[in-house]
Subunit: 195 residues, 2 copies
């Protein structure tokens, strides 16, 4: 790993939480300098623009979330347990290495949908792949006779994502994690209703 690659990774690691809390428009190059301890010049030596850093930071934050879920899922054998991983993970948010500032998909989606096509594209892709993963999981469960046959996999998948993201948003702005936990109970009900 070259020096440049290491510095680049270092910058991403340090600035990702800043972008995820302050947002794209709310984050200045100066913020990136402060977060890394590097000067503006050295940041622009490794990235071509603020956009460039922001996109890499989003990818990093998203990876972090996906790693948590993937890691927990690998411990499960049944489809039901795999689906319940989401409940577990988002119910115990703080126990996992989650990105500072909450869910990057939620944050990036709401900021970028009207303002930043490239970031929006990434958030869009993240949602679609999440949804497809859920649909695949549910269909697998149906095939394995773990879940009922008459399930609308697509509708269920989108509802689960909406509940999770909505729950995160509510808990974050109210400062009450109990709201997130309440929503996760609804997610659990919904998942157990698939059996």
């Amino acid at each position: 790993m070259s020096k440049a690659a290491r510095t680049k990774a270092f910058i991403i690691e340090k600035t990702a939480p800043v972008f995820n809390t302050k947002g794209y428009a709310g984050t200045s190059i100066n913020d990136l300098s402060e977060a890394t301890g590097l000067t503006k010049g050295s940041i622009y030596g490794n990235f071509t623009s603020k956009d460039d850093v922001a996109l890499a930071a989003f990818d990093y934050n998203l990876q972090k979330v996906q790693n948590v879920v993937k890691s927990e899922m690998s411990k499960c054998t049944t489809v039901l347990d795999q689906l319940l991983v989401y409940v577990n993970v988002y119910d115990n948010f703080e126990k996992f290495p989650f990105p500072l500032g909450g869910c990057p998909i939620l944050n990036t989606s709401t900021e970028a949908d009207d303002t930043h096509p490239e970031l929006r594209k990434r958030a869009n892709a993240a949602i679609l792949s999440w949804k497809n993963a859920l649909v695949g999981l549910i269909e697998k469960g149906v095939k394995m006779k773990e879940l009922r046959a008459q399930i609308d996999a697509e509708q269920t998948a989108v509802a689960i994502i909406a509940l999770i993201e909505g729950g995160i948003m509510i808990a974050k702005v109210t400062g009450k994690s109990s709201f997130r936990k309440a929503v996760m109970q609804s997610v659990e009900k919904m998942i157990r209703g698939l059996v």
Copy 2:
């Protein structure tokens, strides 16, 4: 109504959609000038700061949403129908005079939760009052024997809000209103499950 009051209302009306699409940090005073056709000086003649305009704009956008719901609810007699107003309204988003840029609660919450205490406070209050309205409605339904007695009103209310906000977010970033409609079907199921 004095000239000043009319101008103030005019500024709010014209800038509210700008704040709701570009966000607080992403909106400049120059944007406000362009949106109103007024110069910076005259905006600061009616408001003390950018914050001042932003807060008023949020209130305006929130009012707009609440008016739609209130107006539709007044046409309903049963609690069930009143609850289903949310499904109807958010399913047919485009047919109602909704604020440009989507749900102001969602937009403001995700941007301001880590950055802007005053805006966050307002978004927080909006969520809580929405939740309380739902809880009140559900409890009324239980008392009137319209709904089952064993309902966890609080949990149901939070779940409905989470579904709606999550659904809006997903639909907005993907550009597929069908996702929002799918989520609203889940909300309808949830509500009909209360009977």
